[in-house]
């Protein structure tokens, strides 16, 4: 004890650091434990379920890779994967593209915020509510068909929500209505943060319109574009709510996305193992897609710099 006390002064600085380190870990521990309980544990459980046959009651039976084998040979999953791909492409093209267009067109205008605001408002609504509103518009006896009939315009006979892949595309438009505004806001912030110097210099050099966008705004918006597109990829890969509210994946299974297929396999078809396998597959492709995209973008922007 005496030895320990005598030795104390010399070791003091190190101990203080240590103590600080331990304390920091102690304070971080609740968050870590919480993350482990609500995130990692369910994830591991899902991973485990994906190798079993389980109906939600009783015991799960280990079936190895059967669920994965069945899943990839299943035309329903392939159909859902194709629809999900439509969603990814459509979400990048429409909500992101339109958001950029709105931001660019309103950029520099007096009161540009007020131009963007109406586009932003639908963002406050949940996906399910968006689905319900658009169902009123797009159902067979809905507002759109009636408007087309009144105005004697073509497209009156289109069954917007019944024919595939038309229904997927109109649902992407519904999402665009909701999502374009927030993208416009983000791009607006990006445009506002572009320094005046290069823009002025380009203007003096005679750049305007397309050439200004192509050579000045686009490259300088790149960090923001990366984030917006990255979010769009992840968001579109897990599309569920709008489809659920508008078509429930139907008619039949025609407009199902991967997330919807996962839900239906688990809770409607009682095949929790298959549902878990789809969940794992969806997680892997989401992480891969986002990871590859961000890595590529970030390394390119580094090389630009």
């Amino acid at each position: 004890m005496a030895v320990a006390l005598a030795a104390r002064p010399a070791a003091r600085p190190k101990r203080a650091d240590d103590r600080y380190g331990w304390q920091a870990k102690g304070f971080a521990a609740p968050a870590l434990v919480l993350v482990a309980i609500v995130l990692y544990l369910p994830f591991l459980w899902t991973g485990y379920l994906s190798f079993t046959k389980y109906t939600g009651v009783g015991a799960a039976t280990w079936v190895g890779l059967d669920n994965y084998r069945d899943m990839f040979g299943n035309p329903d999953l392939i159909n859902a994967a194709v629809n999900t791909l439509y969603w990814v492409v459509g979400t990048i093209a429409l909500p992101v593209g339109l958001g950029l267009a709105i931001a660019l067109l309103s950029h520099g205008l007096k009161g540009s915020f007020w131009y963007r605001l109406p586009f932003l408002l639908p963002y406050a609504i949940s996906g399910v509510a968006v689905g319900i509103i658009w169902t009123f518009i797009l159902q067979t006896d809905g507002a759109l068909t009636e408007a087309l009939q009144t105005l004697h315009l073509p497209g009156q006979d289109l069954r917007w929500l019944l024919d595939s892949p038309l229904n997927t595309w109109v649902m992407i438009i519904a999402t665009t209505w909701q999502g374009a505004g927030v993208n416009a806001l983000l791009f607006g912030i990006g445009l506002a943060s572009i320094p005046h110097g290069p823009v002025e210099a380009a203007r003096i050099d005679g750049a305007s319109g397309w050439s200004m966008f192509r050579h000045i705004y686009w490259p300088m918006l790149r960090p923001l574009t990366t984030v917006v597109v990255g979010l769009a990829i992840v968001g579109s890969l897990k599309t569920f709510d709008v489809v659920w509210a508008m078509t429930k994946g139907g008619p039949g299974k025609q407009s199902e996305t991967l997330a919807l297929r996962m839900w239906k396999a688990t809770f409607q078809e009682n095949q929790w193992g298959t549902g878990a396998a789809i969940a794992v597959f969806l997680t892997v492709i989401t992480v891969l897609a986002a990871g590859l995209y961000l890595r590529r973008q970030l390394s390119e922007s580094k090389s630009v710099v």
């Binding site: 102690g26 009651v57 008619p251 009682n270």
Partner: protein, 483 residues
């Protein structure tokens, strides 16, 4: 040593709130959130699917769930492990002590006021009442109940589905046996003959009937009168009615491509070959058998003749019938409640008739019946009291009160139905041959393939039904091979 002790202290202090939070979280998930208001708004907003499924609890219809509060954590210890109430089925015997209101869960969230209105009577008769937890999404509800059995808060009293889904729970030993209750009810004349089959597994009974619904044709009386149409008694008459309506630009029949996408398949097959229909549920009939193929061809024929409304119309069926957008709608008798809710008057604005058999060779009037069970979780808190409540539920008094409240048919033959259209419809009851509804008669792995396939057929009818039926039969082959 000291350092690690200090760290342990900090960690423990930090963990307490986390563990407390998680524990609260898990007990919440077991008992449901307390947002009862969510249901009704979602139901009205989401249109027909929702309204229909909320009323019947068949399948998912909207994504919101509604739940009322429930809180028990400790078991009363009453009735743990025993299997039957032995209450005798009559009301005076139902006085079994409970720890508090019985926890009751259902996917029929919209029926909350009706269920709660029974509390006065059940309290007076047995000293028992229920604490309501309602879901309006059937799939979410099913998962909730199944997960409940994995916890120490096993569902006490809950509604479920007959057929394959009840069998699954019975096979796992999760359901309290009700053989004694059924014996008493049958002796008492509280249940009609044959209903017991829906509740029997290996010679024993599980659950009691919550409801029954007969599937009949609801029709708009004004449209019939305006067009000089009579209620058809043969299929040929029915075709004449439909053809007349089509010629006048009125859509004869309602249909849906989701939830109830199977009903015309069911109606046509049961009315043309009841034996084949029953065989589908036992594996005796193949979906590719000529009888089934012919039924689907007849279905196509009807679609081709423009008998059905476009399935993309998502207005409530009750509104469509009221506004005359369709002249007839084939539904279970639960539909009466939906028509009342839009202000249609029974036997004045609408009537109900039994859909004539498709084939004149089928002599007995075929009638599809669906029944939904009220179950007690084995080993749940207040198991004995819940069984006593079940016994009380089957009795004439409780059923009369329930039928009056709902304006619906009761399974109890001693109950008089006050609704004039239903009473008229039920007059024919003596001549009916009762058949199980296709949904309950079909094992789930076959249903999950057939239901979307029928949904596609309703949306885009095709003349050649073989690809669809072959696909369903593949699922059926796989299922029956495993039996």
């Amino acid at each position: 040593m000291k350092k690690s002790r200090r760290f342990a202290t900090i960690l423990a202090a930090a963990l307490v709130p986390v563990l407390a939070a998680t524990a609260c979280g898990s007990s919440d998930s077991g008992s449901g959130a307390s947002t009862p208001a969510a249901t009704s708004s979602a139901e009205t907003a989401a249109g027909s699917d929702t309204a229909t499924s909320a009323a019947t609890g068949e399948s998912p219809a909207d994504t919101s769930s509604a739940a009322a509060s429930s809180e028990p954590a400790e078991s009363s210890g009453a009735g743990e492990g025993s299997t039957s109430a032995g209450s005798g089925g009559a009301a005076p015997d139902c006085k079994v002590p409970a720890s508090g209101p019985l926890q009751f869960a259902t996917d029929k969230a919209a029926w909350q006021p009706d269920f709660e209105s029974m509390n006065d009577k059940s309290t007076a008769d047995c000293g028992l009442s229920i604490n309501f937890t309602g879901y309006s999404d059937a799939a979410q509800y099913d998962a909730f109940i199944k997960q409940g059995f994995q916890t120490n808060q096993k569902p006490t009293l809950f509604t479920w589905h007959t057929g394959d889904q009840l069998k699954e729970l019975v096979d796992q030993g999760l359901i309290s046996e009700t053989t004694d209750l059924w014996k008493a009810a049958e002796a008492n004349g509280d249940v009609p003959a044959g209903l017991i089959d829906n509740y029997t597994y290996d010679g024993k009974q599980y659950c009691v009937p919550l409801l029954v619904a007969y599937w009949g044709m609801y029709y708009n009386k004004k449209i019939f009168a305006d067009n000089n149409l009579q209620v058809p008694t043969t299929w040929a008459d029915f075709v004449k009615v439909a053809d007349t309506l089509v010629a006048k630009g009125i859509v004869p029949l309602h249909q849906m491509n989701i939830i109830f996408e199977f009903v015309w398949f069911q109606a046509l097959l049961v009315g043309s070959n009841p034996e084949a229909y029953v065989g589908l549920g036992t594996g005796k009939t193949k979906y590719t058998d000529p009888a089934v193929v012919d039924a689907v061809k007849a279905w196509y024929e009807m679609a081709n003749k423009k008998y059905f409304i476009d399935p993309g119309v998502q207005t409530d069926p009750q509104t469509l019938l009221k506004t005359g957008k369709v002249a007839m709608a084939y539904f279970g008798t639960f539909f009466t409640g939906q028509l009342t809710s839009v202000g249609m008057k029974s036997n004045e604005d609408y009537g109900i008739f039994a859909l004539p058999n498709f084939s004149p060779d089928v002599k007995k009037q075929q009638m599809v019946l669906e029944t939904g069970p009220l179950c007690v979780g084995k080993g749940s808190q207040d198991e004995q009291a819940a069984l006593a409540y079940s016994a009380w539920w089957m009795g004439q008094d409780a059923q009369q009160a329930w039928s009056d409240k709902r304006g619906d048919v009761s399974f109890n033959p001693k109950v008089t139905v006050k609704d004039p259209a239903l009473a008229e419809f039920l007059k024919g009851q003596g001549d009916w041959e009762i058949q199980k509804r296709w949904l309950e008669a079909t094992p789930n792995p076959i249903y999950t393939v057939a239901s979307p396939a029928f949904g596609e057929f309703v949306t885009n009818p095709v003349a050649d039904p073989m690809p669809m039926l072959t696909k369903i039969q593949e699922a059926a082959d796989k299922y029956w091979a495993g039996k």
